[in-house]
């Protein structure tokens, strides 16, 4: 898969995609690359779950929701998305800034 250009993707000033519905897995790879993350299967478990939750509930899941409903533990989540997993995972999944407190 070649990396797509992010030129035509709209981001807000904090770096979140403006339109979550315009997201594609290729865009996720490009955002991850920009953020310095190489996506593995384990990242995709989180990203796919976050996308599914967004589709069902209209917002990014909380980290606790992710660790409760996938086999990704808190420790692994922090290792996969270093430097603040809540924001980074939402960014790569093309979702808005998470609003949950947990």
């Amino acid at each position: 898969m070649t990396t797509v250009s992010l030129e035509n993707v709209k981001f807000n000033e904090e770096g979140y995609m403006v339109d979550p519905n315009a997201w594609t897995p290729e865009i996720a790879k490009a955002i991850a690359e920009r953020e310095g993350v190489v996506l593995t299967d384990r990242h995709w478990v989180v990203i796919n779950y976050a996308r599914a939750e967004f589709k069902a509930k209209g917002e990014a899941p909380t980290l606790r929701n992710i660790t409760k409903n996938t086999d990704v533990s808190t420790k692994e989540l922090y290792a996969l998305f270093p430097g603040g997993p809540a924001k980074l995972a939402a960014k790569i999944a093309g979702l808005g800034k998470p609003t949950g407190c947990i």
């Binding site: 920009r34 953020e35 310095g36 993350v37 190489v38 384990r42 909380t62 980290l63 606790r64 929701n65 660790t67 533990s73 808190t74 420790k75 692994e76 922090y78 290792a79 996969l80 270093p82 430097g83 603040g84 997993p85 809540a86 924001k87 998470p98 407190c101 947990i102």
Partner: protein, 174 residues
């Protein structure tokens, strides 16, 4: 994933484009159920945002990381000015037997509705998220506690050591 591969993963993680240079030190001094949640929630929120966090548990706050007590924190219904507005329990009623248990039960129920974990699980989660936990040595001596009484992830620290360690951090006293 094994601990080893987790470490490898962390070591190989490319430098984040924006390293967050912010540190929070929270002094946790109270051990009632209603006062145990705020420092844990803030510590967790900070870690979720990539902010470094050290928690220093002192005096009654030690109960939160003491294995035998952390699962049994309760709310006082007498002398707690927060009782009336939220729980509608006037002080005179609060002295009745069972009222503290009732308020504790109510709070645990409300907290669970918000998907906040019970205290022992919350402490583990915050630690797994990378927050560091420290028991205050002087408080531990006073309560005749040793490191073995605390959760495994906690270290013991004197007040002076904590002050040195929290140099440059934003400090909260709760």
């Amino acid at each position: 994933m094994t601990a080893n591969s987790l470490e490898t993963l962390a070591a190989n993680a490319p430098a984040m484009s924006k390293k967050i240079d912010r540190k929070l030190a929270i002094i946790v001094s109270k051990g009632s159920l209603d006062m145990a949640y705020p420092p844990l929630i803030l510590a967790n929120a900070a870690r979720m945002s990539g902010v470094d966090v050290d928690l220093f548990f002192t005096f009654w706050g030690l109960d939160i990381i003491t294995k035998k007590k952390m699962g049994k924190l309760h709310i006082a219904t007498v002398g707690n000015p927060n009782m009336h507005p939220w729980f509608h329990i006037p002080t005179l009623i609060g002295i009745l037997p069972g009222m503290s248990a009732l308020a504790t039960w109510m709070m645990n129920r409300e907290i669970a509705k918000l998907d906040f974990p019970p205290i022992p699980e919350f402490v583990e989660m915050v630690s797994d998220a990378g927050a560091r936990l420290f028991g205050c040595k002087m408080s531990m001596d006073m309560m005749r506690l040793t490191k073995a009484d605390l959760v495994d992830s906690a270290e013991v620290l004197s007040a002076m050591e904590f002050i040195e360690m929290s140099n440059g951090a934003q400090t909260l006293f709760i």
